[in-house]
Amino acid sequence: MLFAALGEVVAERAGVINLGIEGMMLIGAVTGFLAMNRTGSLLAGVAAALAAGAAIAAVHAFFSVTLRANQIISGLGITIAGAGLAALLGRSVVGVPARASFEDEKLPLLGSIPGIGEILFDQHVLVYLGFVLAPVVWWILRHTRLGLHLRAAGENPAAADAMGVSVTLYRYGAVLFGGALAGLAGASFSLAESPGWSEGMTAGRGWIALALVIFATWSPLRVLLGAYFFGALDVLAFRAQIIGVDVPSTVLGMIPYIATLVVLVVVTLLGTRKRLGAPDALGVPYVRDG
């Protein structure tokens, strides 16, 4: 979920909204699992998931950047077609046990910090990768030429174009990057969280990732915090049931959505889009005036 949200931050910062995350995650989950089970290598699984996510994202990029088609329709198409394609690809491995999976690994030193050590540093490798990736993405967006150009493509494509930045190139790159990360997010389900493949196994996590991006007001670092908050609620809902606290898990399950809704309303109320952090040209295809 963290990966998917991070990828979406990058794509949206470049001005392309992607409602296809859910479909890309499913494709990533199934191809990752297939590749891993064929080769026995987790690394191959991860690589396949990244590639598959990016390949599906290329379709979205082609439609939304090159053809300037409506990004919302295209993204939804990806989600629906992706779910179908993933089911088709995975039809032979439903319920097949995984040959390998990422195990939880306690980090030395950090893992033995009482309290947070167990929660934060007793996870599978992909979680750690996410911890590292979020600040890296933040740094690239904030402090490098690459990041500046990418943000320009999302905020003011005409100005970026005038500066000699290829809006098309950057938008393609951002969408592909986002797709690859969505694929990876899918693989973290099929290779780590619940090794195996079943239809619709991401269960709407792609949509939550989308909400997360808004919840985090388009900042990679806050995405990290937000993902943690959402994940904690998930766990809380689960724990509450075990302890027998009289709060139905369904009610707890609503909290992330309602919280995001409230955040969205409050932040919109507080300021302009600028303060909210939404890229100005989000969702708007760029047409160079001749």
Binding site: L67, G77, A87, V251, L261, V284, P285
Partner: protein, 365 residues
């Protein structure tokens, strides 16, 4: 080009898109070792090939057409109602509330109550997103989407908690509705009066949108929010009203499903009707009659998809098919200049036409 010729041409592009989409999915079938001819013909036979198939397709058309209309009317004002799924669930809750509260009432009393409660519940659900959108411009794509999950969880909460049936052996379902809660069937067939709901709804909407002052305002705001504002029309009020209408439509779909498909409220009452609805409305270019037609086609694919399982093809294959058709239409509309969104008037012609769909208020150049 006259508007008639333009819509004829866009209809042609749409038809071509369906054909190409079918051909592409046939190719996909071939790559997994299923004869494309056999696969597609079994799909189409399962959908439209017999009286039984047509009946099933007609029944599936009801929720798809109603939710499709819920999306389409909002699109008329450039609002993206991604929340038909949630409004559908809210409607199901409303109808169930009526059916459980007045369980002994007879059909002539109870059915209008159920439909009314479903419309109110669906509209109320849409209102939660409509008010922030109208007053403060809070992005309705996100809010309606988020509310979907809340509504689905609310259904789960009700059937596992307060409304769980005492006789269900702990299954998360409500009591079966009383005899008055079922829509009358048409003669001996499986069809019921619900099949007229989308037709009536589309008819009324068409009349109101074309003939009334309110309909004129909706078309005007959809065409040019700036001009509408200058003319003194209240964008905020119309946003709320159109989203209430959309919510009510999706709510009715929820009522029909709990009444006729399940006879009680339970989990999983929708295989994503509200999301398919968005594809349907988009493919129909937000045309109301077009939405009915595309809904019938998509309902056929869903029904025909069951038959594919005997060939070893998972039912979700039809999702791929629907997605492919959508992309073909999207490509077709862009390449030929025939608009997927024919109601956006001249100002947005040419390459800007799809841009105009984005819900941002266009700035005056």
């Amino acid at each position: 080009m006259t508007s008639f010729r333009r819509s004829l041409r866009s209809f042609g592009v749409q038809l071509l898109a369906v054909a190409v989409g079918l051909a592409l999915s046939g190719l996909v079938l071939a790559t997994i070792g299923v004869s494309p001819y056999e696969g597609l013909s079994s799909l189409l036979r399962g959908a439209f090939g017999s009286e039984f198939a047509l009946t099933q397709t007609a029944l599936k058309t009801i929720p798809l057409a109603l939710t499709g209309l819920a999306v389409a009317v909002c699109l008329r004002m450039r609002l993206w109602n991604i929340g038909a799924e949630g409004q559908f669930h809210a409607g199901a809750i409303g109808a169930t509330w009526a059916a459980l509260t007045f369980s002994t009432a007879s059909a002539p009393v109870l059915l209008p109550l159920m439909v009314g409660a479903a419309m109110v519940a669906g509209a109320a659900w849409a209102l939660i997103a409509a008010i922030p959108r109208a007053l403060w411009g809070v992005n309705e794509i996100i809010t309606t989407l988020l509310l979907n999950y809340v509504a689905i969880l609310a259904v789960v909460y009700l059937v596992t908690g307060p409304w769980r049936s005492a006789e269900s052996f702990n299954f998360p379902v409500t009591d079966v509705f009383g005899p008055g809660a079922f829509l009358p069937r048409l003669g001996e067939s499986l069809l019921h009066v619900g099949v007229f709901f989308p037709l009536v709804a589309a008819g009324i909407l068409l009349l109101v949108l074309q003939r009334s002052k309110w309909g004129f305002e909706v078309r005007m705001i959809g065409a040019s929010p700036e001009a509408a504002r200058v003319a003194g029309m209240s964008t905020a009020r119309n946003i709320v009203v159109i989203m209430l209408v959309g919510g009510a439509l999706a709510g009715v779909a929820g009522m029909v499903e709990v009444s006729m498909s399940f006879g009680r409220l339970r989990q999983g009452i929708s295989p994503g009707y509200g999301y398919m609805a968005i594809l349907i409305a988009a493919l129909a270019g937000a045309s109301l009659l077009g939405t009915l037609g595309v809904a019938f086609l998509f309902a056929g694919f869903v029904v025909g998809g069951f038959g594919l399982q005997t060939l070893g093809v998972p039912q979700s294959f039809v999702l791929l098919l629907q997605g492919l058709i959508l992309f073909c239409a999207l490509a077709g509309s862009t390449l030929t200049g025939a608009r997927l969104t024919p109601w956006i008037p001249g100002r947005f012609r040419g390459r800007h036409r799809l841009e105009a769909l984005e819900k941002e208020e266009p700035s005056i150049p």
